[in-house]
């Protein structure tokens, strides 16, 4: 077997392999003899078909099959002996494939790039830390109360924040228009759910009152025939209700599934939750920051086959998300691949960097690390041990866990070595989703 490898471009390699005629023909003959035993042909008893007839009928197919198998087999052999790391599947092409002559084929494939991770010390990582203050908790309590707001009818003029029940007829040049009329509509004033001017027009009206207000539709209103027009609304207010924030008491705590009875302990529970949330959010941000920094510091070509695979995966993920969020079924293959190319490239590159780092720093998903992670995950559940057992007995799940653990360990290791800038942020900033760098980049492009 002669093997020669040439570099066609970048990471692409073309391997030419020659196979001696007698090996191939011998294998074909053996396969034919085997086929002759199984094949059923009219005019022949099963198993009595002569090899010559089988060759005449199936010779070409069998040969292609055998050569195809040999190509794959020899490719693997050649890869091992040449010490190459192919990425993705190779493309085979039989250059010469004739009976009685040496077979020659080429395999075109891409290799993994040699990843040399740049000095970790030169990497800039921002590590954010958040302190949860009493004010943050007050705010959180306030917004929790707003979620449980109750409305009670009042005998006074409506004001901002009140909920009103109205009938209205919208008229354009004295004619009622489509979609501009409703009865028994509830509306929270100041919620901004109606066009500007409508809600403020109702303020000051009390139950039973009727009034006509003039409102101008915004220029970019979604119904084109109304956009920018001035319309009159005949409004009748049925009820005016005042929003009442609930008292902070046992009942209020219970409505959030808490068993605490005192404000103090409820606050402590809220604080705990907030801290956990902030910790997770900051951890994610740190991770993102590390990934971005690594990506920036290590720019190298990645094999197209891997990018292609990754795009495929992202398409599926996206389609799944869409179907979950909006109940829409989309064919993942219809999504434009260009949409994901950049993201896929980054992800593939990060993946390569991470696996190289794991090798360099000798980090593995050790049992202790996995155990620690699992008990952490399980602590949220009622019966931690059963959760741990579930993961332990499920190889697929366990592998996923291992991957996560490994990633975390690598990130820790990188952060340890990198140039870390500490930054303290407020709780609101901490849980706000981080702005992906990719978006910023595209905006800059637009600006240019």
């Amino acid at each position: 077997m002669q093997v020669s490898v040439e570099t066609t471009s970048g990471l692409e390699r073309r391997m030419t392999v020659g196979l001696p005629a007698d090996t191939v023909d011998g294998a074909v003959e053996a396969r034919l003899a085997e086929t002759a035993k199984r094949v059923r042909l009219d005019g022949f008893r099963p198993g009595k078909v002569p090899v010559s007839v089988v060759r005449q009928r199936f010779g070409a197919d069998v040969r292609n099959e055998v050569v195809g198998e040999m190509m794959r087999e020899k490719f693997v052999e050649a890869i091992t002996s040449e010490k190459l790391q192919p990425a993705g599947n190779p493309q085979f092409e039989a250059v010469k494939n004739e009976r009685g002559a040496d077979v020659e084929f080429t395999a075109t494939f891409e290799v993994y790039p040699e990843v040399e991770v740049a000095d970790l010390g030169a990497i800039e990582v921002t590590k954010q830390a958040a302190e949860i203050t009493d004010e943050d908790i007050n705010e959180m309590l306030e917004s929790l109360r707003k979620q449980r707001v109750e409305y009670k009818p009042v005998e006074r003029a409506a004001q901002d924040g009140d909920r009103v029940n109205i009938n209205f007829v919208g008229k354009l040049d004295g004619e009622a228009f489509e979609g501009g009329t409703a009865n028994d509509q509830t509306l929270v004033l100041g919620s901004g759910s109606m066009i500007p001017g409508f809600e403020s027009g109702i303020e000051g009206m009390s139950a039973g009152e009727e009034k006509t207000i003039k409102v101008t539709f915004p220029a970019e209103y979604r119904a084109e025939n109304l956009a920018g027009k001035e319309a009159e609304f005949d409004i009748k207010v049925n009820t005016v209700e005042e929003g009442v924030l609930p008292e902070i008491n046992d009942e209020f705590f219970k409505s959030f599934g808490s068993e605490e009875t005192t404000e103090e302990s409820f606050r402590a529970e809220v604080r705990e939750n907030m801290e956990r949330e902030a910790r997770n959010a900051l951890r994610n941000k740190l991770k993102q920051s590390v990934v971005e920094a690594l990506d920036k510091a290590n720019q190298f070509d990645v094999p197209g086959a891997l990018i292609h695979d990754e795009i495929h995966r992202l398409q599926h993920q996206f389609a799944q998300q869409m179907s979950q969020q909006q109940g829409q079924q989309i064919d993942p293959h219809q999504l434009p691949a260009e949409l994901f190319t950049e993201q896929a490239k980054t992800r593939v590159r990060t993946g390569l960097i991470f696996s190289e780092l794991a090798k360099q720093l000798e980090i593995t998903a050790s049992d202790e690390r996995v155990d620690a992670y699992l008990s952490d995950v399980a602590s949220v559940y009622q019966d931690p041990q059963s959760v741990i057992d579930y993961y332990k007995n499920n190889a697929e799940q366990l592998n996923q866990v291992k991957a996560v653990v490994l990633e975390e360990a690598i990130i820790d290791a990188v952060v340890e070595k990198a140039n870390v800038t500490d930054e303290s942020v407020s709780y609101a900033q901490a849980i706000a989703p981080a702005q992906p760098a990719v978006e910023e980049a595209s905006e800059e492009e637009k600006a240019e």
């Binding site: 042909l41 009219d42 005019g43 022949f44 008893r45 009595k48 002569p50 010559s52 007839v53 005449q56």
Partner: protein, 98 residues
């Protein structure tokens, strides 16, 4: 002999265990032919279509089976076969013909 007729005489090769045995052992080729074909016609047709020399032709008529159904007795068509012996060293490769 009518040339048009020659194209209609041969219906196709008959491939079976026996056909392969006689092909190897006595250099014969088996055809299904039209029921009214004569040996002379078959010889001329084979020589013309496959460009070989025919030494001899032997024919037989294989009677169709009688099949009984609910509606009574039916009979399948008879098949006429021809064993054509080719000159020494010649053969017909059916892959290249229809």
């Amino acid at each position: 002999m009518n040339q048009q007729r020659l194209y209609k005489v041969l219906l196709g090769p008959h491939i079976s265990e026996k056909a392969t045995i006689v092909a190897d052992g006595s250099n014969q080729v088996v055809f299904r032919v039209t029921p009214d074909a004569t040996k002379e016609e078959i010889k001329a047709a084979v020589e013309k279509l496959f460009e070989v020399n025919v030494v001899s032709v032997r024919t037989l008529v294989q009677k169709g089976k009688t099949k009984r159904t609910m509606r009574g007795v039916g009979k399948r068509n008879d098949v006429k076969k021809a064993y054509v012996r080719l000159a020494e060293g010649q053969e017909i490769d059916f892959l290249n013909f229809q």
